[in-house]
Symmetry: C2
Subunit: 214 residues, 2 copies
DNA sequence: ATGCGATGTTGACATTGGTAACTCCAAACG
DNA sequence: CGTTTGGAGTTACCAATGTCAACATCGCAT
């Protein structure tokens, strides 16, 4: 309501909003400052009162994208009802992977945005809180796997990078890489295979039954 | 020598050449038509006699990048001297991964170029020749693993996607993702862990000794 | 020699990100 | 209640880029 024709009210939010819209529709490369201004009904250059430059706006939008990704993963995690601690932990790890890929495919634009402007490294500092980022959630899940005895502590090191690499690679290849064009069925099968492979690899120390059957 | 001041001789090659140079130095986004022309000492627009548009030139450069990647992998494969068929096959698969990542890190610009303009899918059609692309080489290596009895035929399906995903993901995260900034040592360790994990996962059917020791 | 087609050139145009200088309004202060 | 001050938007402008159209130049076949 406080929208006098001049002072917009909260241009910043509005800009980030349309930015997200545009990215969802046409990808990060379609993120054009002047068009955003047009859409919001404001002159170009208005944006410069709120963002240092184009990149700053892109970063702001990327933050939104990250939240969306986290939300998707959380949603998937919440659906796990498994009771047995070991099976539960393993299932949770898989769901993180599924959620990650689900988001990448459903929101290809946002997913790509996320990695054209990523907030630098996650700073090896894992181990504190669960973190509100996917990497933190992954680490939490892996720690859980150690606690329940599925993953040998010795194999915990590097497991995060391995898991992330596999799932991220799968997502990238399917979204913008040579694997786009796979049918939904092929994709699902491949992803299941990938995740089961990880699950099997992590638990290779003991003699656990596959999550696939049962 | 045939360089009269007017007709350049073979502009096409020259353009692709400097394009590759620029990408190596400053990445794919620095690939600016007009600058290439300047570098070659020709007027802008000259390029349009040889390329339909910017994208066509990018594609041509990407082709070069692909060749370079393949060369790097071949070089690594050629160095494997292992005699025992099983160990040899396993080692070869690992070297493909190492080569892939090595290239991504050493030639970050070219690697990124490769995936900003990728020649569509590899067309599920694997099984013919080894192919001169990394995907073909990967498939050949996996087939070899089946032949020597390390990889169960049943697990062959999807193994290609799993391997590619893991290695590609690792490369991407390290080159342009949140894992850039890892020290060389950390990176090496993580990659070794990843590749051993794959090796272990593929051979999980039998009871093979790790490639790490011995 | 000559004329034609491939190869380059010049000139223009619309778009984009960005800077500078101006304007407008609202709230703080006397 | 008037004024001033500064945040928020605006217009004017610039250089760079991709691309199109029209023109120039050269070599080779006739």
């Amino acid at each position: 309501m406080t929208t006098s024709p001049y002072h917009h009210g909260n241009l910043r939010e509005a800009l980030v909003g349309v930015a997200v819209d545009v990215v969802r529709e046409r990808g990060p490369e379609a993120l054009v400052l002047r068009e955003l201004a047009r859409r919001v009904g404001v002159s170009h250059n208005a944006a410069y009162r709120h963002f240092a430059d184009r990149e700053a706006l892109v970063d702001a939008a990327a933050e939104r994208a990250l939240e969306a990704l986290v939300a998707t993963i959380r949603r998937r995690l919440a659906r796990v009802e498994e009771q047995d601690p070991v099976r539960r932990a393993r299932r949770r790890l898989m769901e993180i992977g599924v959620g990650y890929v689900e988001f990448a495919l459903a929101e290809a634009g946002l997913f790509r945005l996320l990695f054209t402007a990523y907030p630098d490294p996650p700073d090896g500092a894992h181990g504190d809180g669960e973190g509100d980022d996917p990497y933190g959630m992954l680490n939490a899940a892996l720690d859980e796997l150690v606690e329940v005895g599925y993953l040998a502590a010795r194999d915990r090191v590097g497991a995060d990078v391995t898991c992330w690499s596999a799932v991220h690679g799968f997502a990238v290849l399917n979204v913008e890489g040579p694997l786009r064009g796979l049918s939904a069925d092929e994709r699902d099968a491949a992803l299941t295979g990938l995740l089961l492979g990880i699950d099997r690899g992590l638990g290779a120390g003991g003699d656990w039954p596959s999550l696939a059957d049962g």
